[in-house]
Symmetry: C2
Subunit: 371 residues, 2 copies
Amino acid sequence: MTEIASFATRGRGIADNLCARSRSAAEFLSEVRVTYMSEIRAVVYGVGAMNSIVAGMLLDKGVQIVGAIARSPQKVGQDLGELIGLGRRLGVAVSDDAAAVFEQTRPDIAVIAVNSYLTDAVEQLRICAEHGVNAVTLSEEMLYPWETSPELSGELDALAKSTGATLTGTGYQDTFWVNMVALLMGTAHRIDTVRGKASWNVDDFGPELATAQQVGRTVAEFDEWVRGAQRPPTFGRNVLDALVADTGLTVKSITTATRPDIASAAMRSEALGIDLAPGDVIGFTDIDRIETEEGPVFEFEMSGRVYGPGEGDINEWTIEGEPNLFLSNGTVPTQTTTCTQLVNRIPDVIAAPPGIVTVDKLPRLRYRPRF
Amino acid sequence: MTEIASFATRGRGIADNLCARSRSAAEFLSEVRVTYMSEIRAVVYGVGAMNSIVAGMLLDKGVQIVGAIARSPQKVGQDLGELIGLGRRLGVAVSDDAAAVFEQTRPDIAVIAVNSYLTDAVEQLRICAEHGVNAVTLSEEMLYPWETSPELSGELDALAKSTGATLTGTGYQDTFWVNMVALLMGTAHRIDTVRGKASWNVDDFGPELATAQQVGRTVAEFDEWVRGAQRPPTFGRNVLDALVADTGLTVKSITTATRPDIASAAMRSEALGIDLAPGDVIGFTDIDRIETEEGPVFEFEMSGRVYGPGEGDINEWTIEGEPNLFLSNGTVPTQTTTCTQLVNRIPDVIAAPPGIVTVDKLPRLRYRPRF
């Protein structure tokens, strides 16, 4: 970042503090910052399948990667460029000490691709917030965490506000399950039902998600797991929470039904490196449903499973009402668009006010050749 | 509108004037206004096919219609409710004196459904701007008029800013051709080409558009018309202008090719009340194309014609790049979603800053059961 931009970043903290007293000064500094921020400085937090793709995209967009954090002793100390197969050194050694990385680099943004559930991702988000570092995360619950983890969300939100950091959960669901659907809803005069149907290939997202998706279990094991109390909220629940919140309607009831997806022939899970026999669980489908006091019903059927030959990710939404409306994205490359949205949201998140800012509150995502 | 809301509306003018000196006071008044604006007061400007549907939607949303303007002597003096077939009187007499209606009613918004081209709609927009009345219009060029009518846009923009009015062109293209496509573009890492394909049924939009769309002409007449210099910019041109502007790319070249759509069997145009023979022109297809200095190409093929049996409106967009992306809305009810968006944009336009504010700059459209 140039010297002027560095001033402008410091200016942001000043601007935020000034807000209560004088908007003019705050706005002036904010404009200075936007005008001169020629290069965004990012820390890659987590160096797994997703952030390896993301790091390459960041470089393409002109983002400077100034730090990388990972827990695995096999990764710590390695050069990020070599570790992710970029074919060249980036001069960034992977560290397992997040606090030290943030203190030394003072980045504009941390790009977190570690865990799916807020309870798992909270450690990373908290350390970002403590250091006043803006963060985008693939944590699916962070898409709209207010209803499913209200206490944790409130705590992180307050912490982030106190240091001037913005925390946002994004990824595939940002556009395809929340903002594009909410936009389609905005073209309706009257909504009776909103029904979504989506699928994603478990094998695209590494072994952690494949295990969480129960790949390779027997149906009996699956049934026992479903009955257990340990299950975090479904990804679809946060999606529907965001959609309902966007309309201002009042939630009457929330239900989730789950059915296992079963292999009908021999298959292989590349993510887990195991063969699957007919009858094995290859993932599952959640059907989330929210009924509202005012009448409209929201339902989302999401299947995360190992695909057979010829299967692709779908995203289809139907609105019944006046008029009936439809949206399809054909076969969507879920993994790539998860990474692209984590990257493309960065300018919006840096510009957003401090605290947890969910994607439904950010400006409409747009394409930027470079940041 | 309640008394407090009425104060708040007056407060808006005060707030706008205060802007230059003190944002705090302006923002305070703006918040007062949003909080207490319990009922929006609208004037319906033009009482044809579209605004007859729109008026019913406005009433459903809780908007109070306080005036109606039309030129036709057959409409002037009639009660709006009876004229549009609502089956009840609204207590609103249609007037041909727009200035008098605005001075007497001082509405929050004028809903203009009169003409498609800015040069035709400018009279209505100017009178709204002169009276400080916010306006939404179906004028297609107003979707993004800066490139095709820069002088007129600049004049209207300055006038509206001087009186505190916001002027916005919306309709079907707001979501389906601009904001949903720009959102899809935002999920790309790299864009090579953006290609749209859409169609609409000329018979849905009344005789003016059917005539403008050359329905019933011979191919020779059509060719002569295409060669003529009188043709306004295509609807697609403004769409592509908005999409390219959203990316910050630099326009290198702009071309439009036009081909007639020809009846292959006997058909009937309901809008014009005429029969069409095989070989007659039933509308036409424009192919707009913008190349950019940086490389990405934007192309939009739009067909407005009389439909044969089983044909429906399509809206399909394909992005080639990293990754390839796709969007389809199946069979879209173009006419209804033109009206819904004219209505659903009203709260955004009332809340927007003064001047011409194009839809790509407004917040992401959302569904509101009532305003």
